[in-house]
Amino acid sequence: MDGMAGTSSKLTWAVHISAVLLVALWLFPTVGLLVSSFRTADQISSSGWWASVFSSEQRTVIRTVDPDDFRIEENSAFAVTGDLFAADEEKEVIAWGTSSREVEAYAPGDLVDLGDGESITVDSEGTYSWKGNEEQLSGRGKRVFATVVSPPDFTTDNYERVLFSGDSTDGMAKTFFNTLTVTIPATIIPIVIAAFAAYALAWMQFPGRAILIASVVGLLVVPLQLALIPLLQFHNNIGIGKGYLGTWMAHTGFGLPLAVYLLRNYMVGLPRDIIENAKVDGATDFQIFTKIIIPLSFPAMASFAIFQFLWTWNDLLVARVFLIDATGETTVMTNQIVELLGTRGGNWEILATAAFVSIAVPLIVFFTMQRYLVRGLLAGSVK
């Protein structure tokens, strides 16, 4: 459309600006989470995450070191020198003061006369030098009110704590593997079952085919909420109770309508001639399926696999009902996060990190396989 007659440049600009705004609006929430996961608890609670990517200006009160211990005698005068900041902190003092009423009274480097020969100076790197007589330099350290600019400061401590500490309340490592354990079989098994059914529905002639296809379309929208209690009863009756096996079976059942529907629609679109030619070549239905249909249906199977992966990875309801028992040994990431929201509602560094760990894998899958995802969406929705 760019450059088409009837498109004015003003409008083009408006389009670009609106698009930038829209994208920013959509990206902003996720970035907030990501940034927060790299900040310490103190940083998170003292300023909004958006402030952290810029140098932040803070007012702090710091005491000099204890003069009784550290003062040095020089020509009957005493001096205490030191640094307001720890050695690895890259902070800069832009103003300072000695009383809480005038916190920005002096510029860095100013030598301030405190009366009776007592003086103090603080330079921009935080080095101070406090001089005076024995009496003046005694007791507690001198308070310095500094306005400090600190550069963006991020830490990976949260990730270490969440992933590697082995802490049972905050740790996500175990739940990560639990989720993975749920997800992979629950993604692969329905594809196999659905592929055969889809082939039969697409390319085999038998009475009742139309009704079966219509039922699949109908089951596509049946809310899985209906299935919870009957299936839990069923699982208890056959003795598998709560656990992975039941969860895999449930995910398989719930994912099948979409799988059959997507794959059948795709397979129906394969050229009839190719399949007939294979028949003339002497292939049986089973051979046509494995040697022709499966290799050609790869894009559709990839689409469904992504859907099913995202859905099982992100699922909370099925896991809570069919998997997680009283011991909590099999808890999945989504559930762990919900628990954290309850127990650690204020600890954003843990929450943000845990949440980001759980969404990182889907995001990677999303960005690498987006092509198939889009194709699957289009096949599943647009007639």
Binding site: P271, D273, I274, E276, N277, A278, K279, V280, D281, G282, A283, Q287, K291, I292, P295, L296
Partner: protein, 363 residues
């Protein structure tokens, strides 16, 4: 190789639509038979029934004297070339050509030999390791043919194999198929097309199928052109279609004389009996068999449109009430005829006479 025999074959879809009616056909070993017919006549369906891809509603199909109605395609000893080529897109040319042999559990050595031989015949050797998507239309077509050669079938079936090619390539591939047939004089081939030129140039015999009325005529190409059995075949073969002029027989004998309604007199070599006098008939003359005359004429009319094509000039006359316009095709350039009244005549052996749709030549 094989001969094919169809006896009273019918195809009815859903118990209602009668696509093919009472097809009786003997195809001899080594023949190249072409099925033509208007769209919807079931020519592809007939081919697919011979292939085993469609069930036969009633009747009997024999290949090589064996009753094969219920035999699956692979066991009929046929190979088929599809309009869309139907190459397996995920296999290389070599894999495409060896697929059937692998399924038949032939030894690897045998497979390689067959594939190489077919590739040599079709000049496909440089492309054996390519995927179909890296081939041109003509090359894909050759792979499809090669795939059938490899299987060394009794019968080759071609379903409109050239219609996806552009005009120039179509002519070239047509000649290739003709040459291929020369190289394999024993193989039986059945070829479906809607293109008359393909039918006329390739066929040993042509089968003209009607819509829902079974076979119109079976014969060699020139027979169909010169002596059509009925009005349907007469009008289907040849372009523009044969003119039909209604009239009444006024003289019978070795030759038949017909007075054309509202016009002249036509003399035909078709024989007639004396009882045929006053019989209502249609006289058929091909546009290209008309010539201009000043004397006795078959048709006289005012020229409505003149199409000068250089080698020929086509004259369109105003349609008589309700009928198709009469068309004359005169050799060479004739200018200034528009609006003129022109008289046309034709040689007696080029004039057909049809009574109730059937030609008098075939009584």
């Amino acid at each position: 190789m094989a001969d094919i025999k169809l006896t009273d074959v019918n195809k009815i879809y859903g118990g209602k639509v009668h696509v093919l009616k009472d097809i009786n056909l003997d195809i001899e070993k080594g023949e190249l038979i072409v099925f033509v017919g208007p769209s919807g006549c079931g020519k592809s369906t007939l081919l697919r029934m011979i292939a085993g891809l469609e069930t036969i509603t009633s009747g009997r199909l024999e290949i090589d004297h064996e009753h094969v109605n219920d035999v699956p395609p692979a066991q009929r000893g046929i190979a088929m070339v599809f309009q869309s080529y139907a190459l397996y897109p995920h296999m290389t040319v070599r894999e495409n050509m060896s697929f059937a042999l692998k399924l038949a559990k032939k030894s690897p050595q045998e497979i390689t030999e067959s594939v190489d031989r077919a590739a040599r015949i079709l000049q496909l050797e440089p492309f054996l390791d390519r995927l179909p998507k890296a081939l041109s239309g003509g090359q894909r077509q050759r792979v499809a043919i090669g795939r059938s050669i490899v299987r060394d079938p009794k019968v080759y079936l071609f379903d409109e194999p050239l219609s996806n090619l552009d005009a120039a390539l179509r002519v070239a591939t047509r000649i290739e198929i003709a040459q291929l047939k020369e190289q394999m004089p024993d193989s039986t081939m059945i070829y479906v097309t809607h293109d008359q030129v393909e039918a006329m140039t390739l066929a040993d015999r042509i089968v003209v199928l009607t819509v829902g009325e079974g076979i119109g005529q079976v014969g060699n190409p020139l027979q169909l052109y010169e002596r059509p059995e009925n009005e349907f075949v007469a009008q289907f073969i040849g372009s523009p279609a044969m003119n039909l002029l209604p009239g009444k027989i006024i003289a019978t004998g070795k030759q038949t004389t017909v007075r054309i309604a509202g016009g002249g007199v036509a003399v035909s070599d078709a024989p007639s009996k004396s009882s045929d006098e006053n019989l209502k008939v249609n006289v058929g003359v091909r546009p290209e068999d008309f010539s201009e005359t000043k004397g006795d004429y078959i048709f006289e009319g005012e020229v409505d449109i003149v199409e000068a094509l250089g080698e020929v000039t086509q004259l369109y006359f105003k349609a008589q009430k309700g009928g198709d316009p009469i068309i004359g095709k005169l050799a060479g350039i004739h200018s200034g005829l528009r609006g003129e009244t022109v008289r046309l005549t034709a040689e007696p052996n080029k004039v057909q006479v049809f009574h109730e749709g059937k030609s008098l030549y075939y009584r």
